[in-house]
């Protein structure tokens, strides 16, 4: 049974009679809401971690992550190259996982890189979780107070989660669906993942700025599929203030948190607890559908179903802009160099990216074409590590180099986009 909070009727929305939304600027200070648990205040859209200790803990963890992703990652790659040459091979030679494992897994620097990255990630989650559970009632009361308030709407549909969605992806305790504070954990955990460069959702704002509009220029309704804690949804509303913007995610605690955060910032957006492959919207309802790092989190079958569902809910001429690890044609080379073999496996197995190989082997482009999309392989620039985009813009503006670690410096790369035929 759907639990509908403050939701306009679907009939009314489908009729297209939408009021212009009020969207506050990014400099908006947090509103003081009923049961607002914000002991240390906020800065723009960022709500500070609730204790100085945890904030400092997170700062150090972020600094360590920069070193692990930067200097240590480069040293590990160098060691891999040396070991390949030492064994009579070229550094970029394609070899099997078994051979790569035999060759590299006993090297202390490569092991150090893998172990420190994995332990850092795991430890970060535990520390964040401790905080939220130590203040369980305060955080729950805060969410309960905004479940039924606007602006914007929240719809929860308990019991719809298929088994494949219940894994602890990225080692996140309880995963996207199984922890009451999944949204809280995800926001602060990914802030750490983005090494402190996304506190104001800069990466999501850069992605929203890159989203292509339909050729006729009409943007009345937008959907972000697999919206997690709603950062992209808010960013899209800020770019398209007159549009009706929706986010769907299978994590009910995710969309609860997303709604609360949007309300807290006075942003009029809507969240529905739903599968991206079964959104429940009418045919042709949206002008734009986006997804950011969604497809590598779902099964191969689910990816195909999501593409078909996206095609169904887009109107002719509407655009789909999926951004994920391999949606940039220049990155869609599944090379078998030894470090890549090792890192893919560690990502999949030990960062618990449960569906990583499903995503790699999926016929993503083929399914888009079969589902009625005209493909453009030369779409706007995007990045699966969103802060690369915002950092590239900052570099263009300031001329100063930025240091993010081994995923930095790439800026954006041409991303695919599909237009509904």
């Amino acid at each position: 049974m759907s639990q509908l909070f403050n939701r306009r009727s679907m009939m009314g929305m489908a009729g297209g009679a939408l009021s212009a939304a009020s969207v506050l600027s990014s400099s908006h200070a947090h509103a003081k809401l009923k049961n607002d648990f914000e002991p240390r205040g906020g800065d723009g859209i960022w709500e500070r971690l609730p204790s100085l200790n945890l904030e400092a803990y997170d700062e150090m963890s972020t600094s360590t992550r920069k070193w692990v992703n930067g200097a240590l990652a480069r040293a590990a790659q160098q060691r891999a190259n040396e070991l390949m040459v030492k064994n009579g091979m070229k550094p970029d030679q394609q070899i099997s996982f078994e051979d790569a494992s035999k060759l590299l897994s006993n090297d202390p620097i490569i092991a150090m890189r893998a172990s420190s990255w994995q332990r850092l990630q795991w430890h970060m989650w535990q520390e964040l979780k401790r905080e939220f559970y130590d203040n369980y009632d305060a955080y729950m009361s805060e969410m309960e107070a905004t479940d039924k308030t606007g602006p914007g709407t929240l719809e929860l549909n308990p019991g719809i989660e298929p088994e494949y969605t219940k894994h602890e992806i990225h080692m996140q305790p309880g995963g996207y669906t199984g922890d009451p504070f999944a949204g809280h954990l995800y926001l602060y955990g990914t802030a750490n993942f983005y090494v402190g460069q996304n506190y104001q959702d800069q990466g999501h704002a850069a992605l929203a700025a890159a989203v292509p509009v339909p050729a006729d220029g009409k943007v009345r309704r937008i959907l972000d599929a697999g919206c997690s804690c709603g950062q992209q949804v808010v960013a899209l509303k800020r770019r398209f203030p007159d549009a009706e913007v929706w986010g769907v995610d299978i994590g009910a605690p995710m969309v609860r948190y997303a709604h609360m955060r949007a309300v807290d910032n006075g942003v009029d957006v809507n969240f529905r607890h739903a599968l991206a492959e079964k959104t429940g919207f009418p045919d042709g309802y949206f002008d734009i559908v986006t997804s950011y790092i969604l497809h590598h989190e779902v099964t191969e079958q689910a990816t195909y179903e999501i593409i078909r569902e996206t095609s169904r809910v887009l109107r002719p001429g509407g655009v789909y802009f999926p951004v994920d690890v391999y949606t940039m044609p220049s990155r869609r080379v599944l090379d078998g160099t030894p470090m890549r073999r090792i890192q893919d496996w560690i990502t999949s197995r030990w960062n618990h990216e449960r569906w990583w190989y499903d995503y790699q082997r999926s016929d993503f482009l083929g399914e888009m074409q079969r589902s009625g999309f005209a493909l453009n392989m030369d779409g706007p620039e995007a990045s699966a590590y969103a802060v690369n985009l915002s950092q590239a813009r900052a570099r263009q503006t300031s001329g100063r180099p930025q240091a993010l670690g081994d995923m930095s410096g790439q800026g954006g790369q041409k991303n695919i986009m599909g237009t509904k035929i």
């Binding site: 420190s116 994995q118 369980y136 602890e168 922890d179």
Partner: protein, 113 residues
Amino acid sequence: MAETKGNRPTYATDFITTDIEKVTFFGNVHIDNMMTTLLAMGNELWVQRKRQHILEALLAEKGVKPEAIEKYVATPAQEQAWAKERDVLVARLWSHHDKNTGEYNFASDWNGK
């Protein structure tokens, strides 16, 4: 099952737990465990340094000199509370050593993917 306290609706589902804590990348689980300990210690160290920076800056604003901090004598109640806090810190730094069995190496479950 999702962790809950009390009867408030959480909208959280049951979930499939990972076994990622049981991996060893060094071939010796104690070394991997030490990695967590050292990461935690580094974080704790910065927490204390940051608090100290803030505190001493505030104190200086109020006219408290560094010598007064050096010569401070704690009360018995303070000593007791701080000892309890140290026990929590020890658990945070070391508790994973009694959980991780190292039964998997990093390539476990590869099965020719």
